[in-house]
Point group: C2
Chain length 106, copies 2
DNA sequence: TTAATATGCAACCAAATGGTTGCATGTCAA
DNA sequence: TTGACATGCAACCATTTGGTTGCATATTAA
């Protein structure tokens, strides 16, 4: 559950699209997720493994099928612990930059 | 200002550390940023270029120095447009999973 | 003017990444 | 039981990535 794994998992557009797909319909199987993409099943498997390692999805084995469920907790943690910090500094950072630019171009 | 560039820029721990450093002290020069790391100046230059392309930092040339300023706007956009979507679904997703698990293990 | 300083550019390299193909395993249904 | 279906595993490949070294350019200060 390292934050780095979450960031790296989110870096790939295909993986974000997989999360989107699960957000649209939770609990999809591997084959169902493959139908919404143009790559091979094995490629999707690898992406899902990375998402699962980052704890962004949880899987439930159901017979010969494997269902994939979104886990929004890591995204929430990033939002709170990391993004919040930069959002808080937003106004001051912008005003700093403005002041600096004004000083540079008098 | 594509969202993909922002996600990819945030994927690297060194680049997040650079953002942290700028969050701690805004407007640092390349050399100042280099002092807080163990890699070469050229490596840091590359990371800064990626951050700048993602619009996460803005630079101001000041003589022979170049100052780097945090731009929290893209992070804020990701938080609002992308993360918010998944946070909203948090409770329902978790309850979905719980129901599913209960069904699987009666 | 000259030397030191701050940054820029380009070639190069090893390792990670995203993808493929081929085959194996396990489960359901006829 | 047997065939079809869903997933798993492993080897392999091209490209991207993160890093280096070496040299070039521009600005400040003595």
């Amino acid at each position: 559950m390292s934050m780095d794994a979450v960031f790296r998992a989110l870096a790939d557009p295909t993986r974000r699209q997989l999360l989107d797909s699960l957000h649209h319909r939770n609990g999809q199987t591997l084959n169902a997720l493959c139908e919404r993409t143009d790559m091979t099943r094995q490629a999707v498997t690898k992406h899902l493994a990375i998402l699962e390692e980052a704890n962004l999805i949880t899987t439930v084995r159901n017979g010969r099928e494997k269902e994939h469920y979104l886990n929004p907790v890591p995204i929430n943690e990033i939002a709170e612990r990391w993004i919040g910090k930069f959002e808080r500094g937003r106004l001051t950072a912008l005003s700093d930059l403005k002041k600096r630019l004004e000083r540079e171009e008098p």
